[in-house]
Symmetry: D2
Subunit: 368 residues, 4 copies
């Protein structure tokens, strides 16, 4: 991953700012012959788009995606796919405050320090709007995965909002689409609603933890030791705005386990190895085991809040700032489809990489 491109064979380059005319992604290296349409991509974009509940920003964007290249007669041609999304609600306003003051927790100050210029109309390139392009690209990756590995299923959901985590005993995959939080635990979803209502009224925000799983990932994906599957997933998730931590399987909690507790014992099933547990999150030595791949990431609280914060101006004067405008009280909610999209892109890239190097041949276990 470097500059604005990620992936080796399935390669995504995103571009565009929050307050420019448009943003998008060039998706290169996609296998040819994959059925793709604007309508199919739109389904994924609609999951991420703002303004869908009172818990996300009220900015109104259709997030309509246009395919400008790389698809002909309904299928990918193997050449670059340009996905364009127009910005339609860059509300005219007085940017003076942001233009001169650096918003704490935002990239205002670092973009200024690095580049000596920044687009002060909004977050510019550092805005979460950039993630719309990821979701569009992820839609292409999903379509290719569906063709190449039909049994592969990606699922993202929230497992914590602020201090309130889900109860794994109540985990119900069907629940995820039934509440505005992608929450698999119906009970805690109600608690989140109340908690976020209160936060929103107080002009504050809160962080969250998102989990993304992939079932049906074939064993053998990942290329040690610097192109490990978990390495690329960590980078992919950490590159999402406001993410501050990434975990695979047991994650940080692995530190507290003993070796005997952490071992995923192996047995022989009818179709190959089966495991007694999945502390490893589906990855050993950087290579997929065939178990579900499990990734979690923490999203920090939205930095744009109504509570006044101390800051400085470009001229170096000390001052305070209040960030009015349309913001997410918990930006983690909209990170769920983004995490899914990154999972899809990384898995497809590794599938193609593995096919390139090994031809997809596999060491047999027990004659299978």
């Amino acid at each position: 991953m470097s500059l604005n491109t990620f992936g080796q064979l399935f390669r995504v380059t995103t571009w565009g700012e929050s307050h420019g005319p448009a943003l998008g992604a060039v998706v290169d290296g996609c296998p040819p012959g994959i059925a793709v349409s604007e309508e199919a991509l739109q389904v994924w974009l609609d999951r991420r788009k703002p303004g869908q509940s009172k818990y996300t920003t009220q900015r109104r964007e259709a997030d309509a995606v246009e395919i400008l290249s790389g698809v002909f007669e309904g299928v990918t041609t193997g050449t670059p796919i340009q996905l364009l999304i127009r910005n339609t609600d860059q509300r005219s306003k007085d940017y003076g405050d942001i233009a001169e003051k650096f918003r704490p927790g935002h990239a205002d100050i670092t973009y200024w320090q690095k580049y000596g210029i920044r687009d002060y109309r909004g977050g510019g390139r550092s805005s979460a709007r950039e993630t719309a392009a990821r979701v569009a690209a992820g839609g292409i990756a999903r379509a290719a995965l569906a063709a190449l590995v039909p049994e592969l299923a990606i699922s993202g959901y929230m497992v914590a909002v602020g201090p309130h985590g889900i109860d794994r005993e109540r985990f119900d995959r069907d629940e995820i689409d039934r509440n505005p939080f992608w929450c698999p635990d119906a009970e805690v979803a109600h608690a989140w609603a109340a908690y976020l209502d209160e936060l929103r009224k107080s002009g504050d925000s809160v962080g969250a933890i998102v989990e993304v799983t992939a079932d049906g990932v074939p064993p053998g994906l990942g290329a040690p030791v610097y192109g490990k599957l978990d390495t690329d997933l960590a980078a992919a998730m950490m590159s999402i705005n406001a993410v501050k931590g990434v975990e695979i399987g047991e994650g940080m909690a692995a530190a507290a386990l003993t070796g005997s507790a952490n071992a995923d014992e192996i047995r022989m099933g009818p179709n190959g190895p089966v495991y007694s547990s999945n502390h490893a999150g589906g990855i050993l030595g950087g290579i997929s085991t065939g178990q579900p791949v499990v990734v979690r990431f923490a999203v920090k609280p939205t930095s744009s809040i109504l509570t006044p914060r101390r800051t400085i101006t470009k001229a170096g004067a000390e001052t305070e700032i209040v960030t009015k405008g349309r913001h997410d009280p918990c930006v983690g909610i909209r990170a769920v489809p983004v995490g899914e999209a990154m999972m899809a892109c990384v898995l497809l890239d590794h599938l193609l990489l593995d096919r390139g190097q090994t031809g997809g041949a596999r060491g047999a276990i027990g004659g299978a």
Copy 2:
């Protein structure tokens, strides 16, 4: 990062297996004119090498590094630096057990599944011995950083062993080199000693959390949105053997904070911006702020333990395995110098990348 190479401008390629004749790294893109010697590199390697206390593996390796190219008359020439470390203690033993059985928690099964062949004499390419090459490469990076940014200081230490964390109130940087755990809290270091003695006797192992900080990092390093500094640090740390989670600044705990609690307020200091706190871990929008860069990673417990574990053979038969041999009861200890090395490599790479794109020019704040 891909295959066995990481870095864009400062690029490290490692090679070699645990039981082959040698391993090493090619370091490419190093600035020319940097003073480098085998002796100076050896200092870093000695910190990582096995057998230094009863808490690490008793394998005896001198880990003596030879510079085969890229250094002339004591300084780097700008061309590739080959660092070679011979394996000297690949003890002859009966590998039959490992050759046929897959050790749970190890990459045995995934290497077999991906490549259809693996070096069954030991971990092969997935062994923690590979990290010796990283430490050697990190020594080159440190030398270059010392020349380019003399005020930059990297420090790694353990903050938890199993369930026992340090007390931040007792944090003493001078303590780090005084105990076999790189522990900044003298009191908890004693507790760790007792805990690990017990574990070792019971043939078990445990995980750990390592923190690596870098003070004096100039603002402006990192290239959004996929070459963010935190993205590359996450990938770098996750690529270390047995790492299951990576955190920047507040890390996973950021999820539980409110926006008002998480804001690092900005004030004006004599030499530029100063911050009331560092929840961000020195990185905003993927770009360094000038505050200390703070990274933590969790190392899972060593998978090689004396407790019998259920597993299968290549032929698909169910069986049990006990991993005898020389192993670390807490492999996290030796991960400390590795984490430092990865930090050094990533920071240097981003320093060069930033110098390439921007020339190191910076947007002025308050005339500074």
Copy 3:
């Protein structure tokens, strides 16, 4: 260079087909603060655009470039610049012939063989229209070079059309813009006009040789041994449609020289080394010497001709084809601005790479 991206730090990704709605380029890694405008870019695009004389295709394209991102208040922000060019003259016609038959000398057959699908409405991704995106990206590179190395000047021109080469004795740089062939030899330009008129009438086409020079290139650009300046220039030029050969300095003719004839002897000038000759084309060991960088490339004759050619259909039947439509009798003419653009992109990339690795420091010669 790989897939549809070239460059390491200054990175260009192009996308789009000849008969799709649009094409363009994402330019990433550009230094910030460079003055850029659609008007300034248009100047370069207008040099390449079709239909400017009877010697180029009569397809009418405005080739109007829109900047969709990465430029704010007239200067580059350091983030990706999306350059979009709409196709406006994709004339509706009967594609049946091309859809089923493979045009000899075209990529029809290889795209089909590789991807199993191709955009049969025209050349699709393999069309020379793709080069409009290169010219737009080259405009960005030129703007950055103008800011960073004001004395650098790039000049492209034709040195041969079919069997008719220029006379170097009559070389007049001012002549280049005065004829429709970018020809520095006014006399041979007349011969070319007559020759091409005849060819055009006979429905045939012819090849050409283009030379691109860069004066004022600082010494030290290029990174041996696989990122040599000449290596990257060779790749850049060879990637242009229809190019079959690339030469640096003396080029293929170097094979016929003796070492004593080929030596560029070195003397000391007031500002550093000066050379008695430039057989090397400004590059030694892959690194620029400070002399003019000289590259030449051969463009094969346009494959779309009115003379019937034998070919086969997708069904494997033998047949004949005549390629009607709007084509360049000598596509080499429009390759001149494309070659200039590639030179600009490669030089800027190497300037940034060198600045990254070495900081632009130089070994002194004679105290300079």
Copy 4:
């Protein structure tokens, strides 16, 4: 290609200087399970090694290659292969002359200008000794190609020495291994012998043209528009020391052809398309056609000659230099196995890339 690495999936990183202890290559991304041995690699190295006839340098190097990693029980494991070649004949001598004076036509001056330091004991990194590492890596590529595409055959030979070209009518592939020039024309080989004897006695040198062909390349290799097969071949060949021009198929001569003469007409053969001619050199639109891939490159005359040449010292003083020592009167001879090695590496890389993206599926022609 960048710094000292080339290839995307099959990736070669070379290191080492002409007068250091050793040089070599790390080969990463090789398919697993490929039979490889030091003995098999040595065959290729012996073809390139110096001192085999009076027409190449008298430096005596065994060029014995050691495999330090990535091969276990006789086959590749899929992990990095370290190939090490020790320098054994770095004859002790007075380097004073080279240390202070820049040899015209050599990289002495540009390495100094770029890096501010260079290994003055010889060519250092810019020496043709580096190509031994390419040949070793090429041996790995050949082994993989032999396993994956058994019918693929690579052949390199000289087609011109100075002004004396071969007569294509007398082309005899069996002749190539029978003379010290890899010359397919027995008659001109005698002329070359006489010509080079004379040159050698006069202390001069001369250039040459090498042609490398690959038969049996499957159609579909190459990834437009910047990862074209010809683009990568051009870069690969141009990266070889002293190469000044690269041609594909008709090459520079394509410029003089008409479209009707240049068209490779297509007919239907029993196993797919066949072509009336191969002006394209086996590549259309950057993708292989299935015809022989034909590349030629010009090697300039050795710059190290006994004829005195004017030059300057590091201190800026004007002087003369004579390069004594052991040099090739025609370095093009030893470039033949190097060109073959680069061809093998590029083809394997593209084979893996194509397999990754497309799975090797092909658009059918005529039901085949």
